[in-house]
């Protein structure tokens, strides 16, 4: 009940934030632009719309998660609204989970609206509906959930600007760490390979949640990859939230 109350209030706060609408406007404009881009391209126009569309959902969803997520807890502390809130019988963990759930709900609604625009544009072009696109969108949503957890974690102890830089770094590292896999195969066994292996285990691998290429080009996705991706996102999110809760529980609100 408490988590739900805080989550709904966070959702209310987020949907009254102008930045959300600005990002939504740009996302919608990019989705419309993908159709214009397709008209100017030689080749499979549907693929262009799918490619640009899915990339827009991912990019603008990530921006929403970072820009709103990194300010969520910090704003409560900075504006001192947390004083009255935590003086009530609310656990600090419940407060954090409520904030997280509220932003996830916001992202769900926003991603849903952007997806509808995307699918309508695609349908108007191809007169076909591809269910596989929903798989890619679902995994984009899972990635946004993880990024939200990371943004909230940083928001527990640093300013929104620093938290945004940290979360963006997490996102960029997460999408480039797959290169370590190739590196592990190329370097000879020994200290270097062990180091590369440790780095790969420790660094996030957001590419395991990226099925955009497969969906756009109609390549079959192995079920094991889907299950792995799902478990990876859920476990990583739970781990980051637990870490955030640990930091938040020990904080003094001066």
């Amino acid at each position: 009940m408490t988590i739900r109350t805080i989550a709904l209030n966070t959702y209310k706060e987020a949907v009254r934030d102008r930045i959300l609408y600005l990002l939504f406007f740009f996302a919608a404009a990019t989705l419309v632009f993908s159709r214009v881009l397709a008209l100017l391209t030689v080749g499979d126009r549907v693929k262009i719309i799918k490619d640009v569309g899915l990339a827009s959902l991912s990019l603008f969803g990530t921006l929403m998660a970072i820009l709103i997520g990194t300010g969520l807890v910090y704003k409560e502390i900075d504006k001192k609204t947390i004083f009255t809130l935590l003086s009530k019988p609310i656990g600090r963990g419940a407060f954090l989970v409520g904030k997280f759930a509220g932003l996830v709900l916001t992202l769900f609604v926003m991603l849903g609206l952007m997806s509808i625009i995307f699918l309508v544009i695609l349908f108007l072009h191809s007169f076909r509906f591809e269910a596989a696109l929903l798989v890619a969108i679902f995994y984009i949503f899972l990635e946004l959930i993880l990024i939200t957890a990371v943004a909230i974690f940083f928001s527990c102890f640093s300013t929104p600007i620093l938290s945004s830089i940290f979360t963006l770094s997490f996102y960029l590292i997460g999408h480039t760490s797959w290169g370590l896999k190739t590196l592990i195969k190329k370097i000879p066994p020994g200290f270097g390979r062990t180091l590369a292996r440790i780095a790969y285990v420790l660094l996030p691998d957001l590419e395991s949640l990226n099925f955009k290429t497969e969906v756009v080009h109609g390549i079959a996705i192995p079920p094991a990859a889907l299950v792995n991706g799902l478990l990876y996102a859920l476990c990583f999110t739970a781990f980051v939230l637990a870490l955030a809760s640990l930091v938040f529980r020990r904080r003094d609100f001066i």
Binding site: M1, T2, T5, K12, K80, T84, L86, P89, R250, I254
Partner: protein, 305 residues
């Protein structure tokens, strides 16, 4: 009578600055607040008043010491369910309307919808904001925010109300209204812990006070025991006589036209002043004996420290 709040030997220090330096804020605070009373917590800026309150509320963790609310550990949910809190310079979710705001806090106490609606309506009326129910808090004035803050502190019908500088930033009428509300709380059987700089208000409504200076309580007890009823001096306002004729009998505080304000420290000299006024056909406007005030006590303690 049982205690609503008991604090024993509370210590708290913070690490401050770029190169962290430990600063001890609370240096062994011990106090108790009896149920059904208004307790004034006084101290100059930076004395540790707000830190004590935040520690009681679980916003800050003490280094050592014990806090009990109605006999229970202060972090226990049962203890916190009985508390209402208004922070200093309250900041709230300004995108909510007054009614939404109270409903939100009511939900945090798991109150039923009917109870929330009824209580919100009653509390808005009680703090004089019934016409602002549908107004967003960002459009509220400072005084209105203080009032809605007080309403949220009462949404759970608490037995113990903690108010940190509730009279700050209010105009004289607003101050009187809030003061009257606090006195009503006591009549309803609630306990109030009140931290304030406005000593006059504390003196008017508090049963007991504690004076905290530099993280230590220097004096605490019932107000009538702390503030002596002995007459310190008598203020006499008179006119139509020469100031020189009464100069040796007391301290002339001011002379405005014909009007003289005289401070007389010796009771015997009052008679002589009155005799001079009568002999010289002067006029006596007022004669007010001044006893010690909380302000005198407070300034004495702080200066002594």
């Amino acid at each position: 009578m049982a205690n609503a709040l008991t604090i024993e030997n509370l210590h708290k220090s913070f690490k401050l600055g770029f190169i962290p330096k430990t600063k001890e804020i609370l240096k062994g605070i011990s106090l108790s607040v009896e149920e059904g009373t208004i307790f004034g917590y006084l101290g100059p800026n930076g004395a540790g008043k707000t830190t004590t309150i935040k520690t009681v509320l679980g916003l800050i963790f003490p280094d050592r010491g014990e806090i009990r609310i109605f006999g229970q550990p202060h972090l226990a949910a049962k203890a916190r369910e009985r508390i209402g809190f208004l922070p200093e310079n309250p900041y709230f979710y300004d995108y909510l309307t007054a009614a939404e705001f109270l409903d939100f806090y009511g939900r945090l106490f798991r109150l039923d919808k009917e109870v929330r609606t009824e209580r919100s309506r009653r509390l808005l009326k009680r703090v004089g904001l019934e016409r602002a129910a549908d107004l967003q808090l960002r459009k509220f004035s400072r005084g209105m925010l203080q009032r809605i803050g007080l309403a949220q502190a009462l949404i759970n019908d608490p037995a113990f109300v903690i108010l940190d500088e509730p009279l700050g930033g209010l105009d004289p009428i607003g101050r009187k209204e809030i003061r009257d509300l606090i006195v009503q709380f006591r009549a309803e059987g609630k306990t109030v812990l009140l931290s304030s700089h406005i000593l006059q208000d504390i003196e008017m409504i508090c049963d007991r006070v504690a004076v905290v200076v530099d993280g230590r309580i220097l004096n605490q007890g019932p107000l009538h025991e702390l503030v002596s009823e002995k007459i310190l001096f008598t203020e006499i306002a008179l006119s139509a006589i020469d100031p020189g004729s009464v100069a040796g009998l007391g301290e002339i505080v001011s002379v405005h036209g014909e009007r003289i304000l005289l401070k007389v420290f010796d009771d015997a000299k009052i008679e002589r002043v009155l005799a001079i006024v009568q002999a010289k056909k002067g006029r006596l406007h007022s004669l007010i004996p001044r006893t010690e005030t909380l302000e005198d006590l407070f300034i004495g303690i702080v200066k002594g420290q």
